[in-house]
């Protein structure tokens, strides 16, 4: 007699744990019941991200690079599983390679984005990139996995904490990714993933006063409304591409700090 397989319950990823939506709601997607996150789940995710962010950005750049590389390792081990949850093997491989690419950038981008500035006076003056803080990401609908990774990885490498809304129609790859992230030595809460209705969740993140930046790559027609709400605390608005990698993707999620000190005896 054939063994009955054990099915997975698809839940949210908040603060390093996998809770159901506090609302108790689910919706059907990809043949499963997926948690339908609520406003309160979104707010809990922001709290978790805010709490985790200082710890993540305090790690050395070398260490952050290793953690991102570890995400690639964890995904590689689950390659077959990922492949059936998104666009297929090619999308998964490119997603894994994207983590590796950003892992290798962790201890380099500061040298490219920073500067020593030759001011006209007896001062030592330098500029360094620092994380913006808590970044909300409205991930693209497609490609569900590669799009999510393309937006989350550059935010992470810069030392930010993330609250991402997964692809609404293809959410399972995001939960699978959460399981890889949970086993990658990423401090709990550094990445939080919400599944559910984009139009229900995104406005709460856009208007949240403790979110510093919002990535609208997957916002579609919601974009203008979200952007307008983001102005309440002068959010950085990022309009990225669903499939791209680059230094400018990292620089979109950093602030530049310039420090002056006199030179003298």
């Amino acid at each position: 007699m054939a063994r009955l397989p054990v099915r997975k319950t698809y839940k949210l990823f908040i603060g390093g744990a996998f809770p159901r939506s506090e609302s108790g709601r689910t919706y059907a997607a990809q043949g499963s019941n997926v948690a339908r996150a609520s406003r309160k789940d979104a707010r809990d995710a922001v709290s978790a991200a805010r709490a985790a962010q200082p710890r993540w950005s305090a790690q050395t750049a070398y260490n952050r690079g290793q953690v991102l590389y570890r995400v690639a390792e964890m995904m590689e081990a689950r390659l077959a599983e990922f492949a059936v949850l998104c666009g297929g093997r090619d999308e998964v491989e490119r997603s894994i390679d994207r983590w590796v690419w950003y892992a290798g950038f962790a201890d380099k981008f500061a040298q490219l984005l920073g500067a020593a500035n030759p001011v006209a006076g007896p001062y030592f003056n330098f500029t360094v990139p620092e994380p913006t803080g808590v970044v909300a990401i409205v991930a693209p609908e497609q490609p569900a996995l590669l799009g999510l990774v393309s937006r989350v990885a550059p935010a992470l490498v810069g030392g930010n904490a993330v609250v991402a809304i997964a692809s609404e129609g293809v959410p399972l790859a995001a939960i699978e990714l959460a399981e890889a992230l949970a086993t990658s030595d990423l401090p709990a809460g550094t990445v939080n993933l919400l599944t559910g209705e984009r139009s229900e969740l995104a406005p709460w993140l856009a208007s949240h006063m403790d979110v510093n930046a919002i990535d609208l790559t997957g916002a579609d027609v919601l974009g203008p409304e979200l952007e307008r709400a983001g102005a309440d605390n002068v959010k950085r608005v990022v309009r990225g591409l669903a499939d791209s990698q680059g230094l400018s993707e990292i620089s979109a999620f950093v602030e530049l700090k310039t420090v002056w000190h006199p030179i003298g005896l």
Partner: protein
Amino acid sequence: MTELSRRGPSPLLPVDWTYAPAPESREIAAIAERYGLFIGGEWVEPQSGAFFTTLSPRDEEPLAEIAQAGPADVCAAVAAARAAFPAWSGLAGSERAKYLFRIARLLQERAREFAVLESLNGGKPIKESRDVDLPLAAAHFFYHAGWADKLEYAFPNRSPRPLGVVGQIIPWNFPLLMAAWKLAPALAAGNTAVLKPAETTPLTALAFCELLAQAELPPGVVNIITGDGSTGAALVEAEVDKVAFTGSTEVGKEIQRRLAGTGKRLTLELGGKAANIVFDDAALDQAVEGIVNGIYFNQGHVCCAGSRLLVQESIADAVVEKLKRRMASLRVGDPLDKNTDVGAINSQAQLTKIEELVAAGSAEGAEIYQPPCRLPEKGYWFAPTVFTDVSQSHRIAQEEIFGPVLAVLTFRTPQEAVEKANNTPYGLSAGVWTEKGSRILWMAERLRAGVVWANTFNRFDPTSPFGGYKESGFGREGGRHGLEPYLSFDSG
């Protein structure tokens, strides 16, 4: 003869320390009776037909009639900039550079005239216009001139291209310098511009138009339109590719809302409530100079002003005592007098706002101190002010006053200093005073602010990126980083 006088002058004898007035002559600055709008390289009458009077805040003397640009005028200016864009952006970078070098040189040549005009129209001490605003404005053009033909070096492998027409709205605290901060990078990158100076301080920008004509800058590359907030709003709504705004956080948020969904680029340089943090091992006399410079420079009309003093508890009394003594020696008065340290408040509206917040400070229980000083009878004036016994919830510790008003708070540990410094929606600048190097870097790392001055304050340079975290805005001005918002790129 007394015993005393036979020995010659003695420090015991009363000495008259009052300064003789040393006014800068205002004759050097020619002011027209009436100014039109500078559009397409020409002075044009406003289609709105409306004018308003610009004053000198030092005595409320009317200086000139200024055009109030309406929506049709804004459109005309944007159209002129659009028409000039292909030729300007198509010009070899090395040639664009030479125009900017010319502008820098002309500003240096005519610095004294512009400095007088700036102090007359804006109320800032001539000492500051002469030694800070003008040299820095010229330096900004000189610095950015060199970038015009080196953009590929600034952004390798990214094919930088200009955006098109940029709309720029600037404040009244550093009128000419802010025009330079905006125009120099925009033009170096190959954009054309429509600039709106602040309502109360249009004169140096208008004089700058004559300077552009002297530089033979092609018509339409820079257009300058004057007016109030409604002119700025029309510029934001106009067919521009990018908006750059320096001003209040409140207006900045409104601009961000209006631009939502338009795809127009935006950079914002907004308000601040900077903490100037003094540790017990700091060189106190230097720190006191830095505190004074931090809050009384330009009457405190500075977005990055050190308006909150955070002083370590063990030295708080000593620092406040030294500070009060130093404040008593500040000379408040005629902006055109070369001895003046603190000039006139920029406008009646700003004076009213300062008075309201200062009244709130007293009402909420903070203790006020103002050194004895005689304020002129005419014009807009406010004495240098310090509040002690301030708590974090007081309005004077939370809201940007934009005047010569300092709020003093104390802390015990570096952690507490960081927490209090960051406890504001703003994040433009911060100051740290300590002789311990590792502590400076530890603090600098944790202060959520775009500029950190360690053992100094209020330093500016065209090579040094300036701009805020959080609600102090986004984007940088100055340095390679300040060019980026004026360019688009093929690849990341």
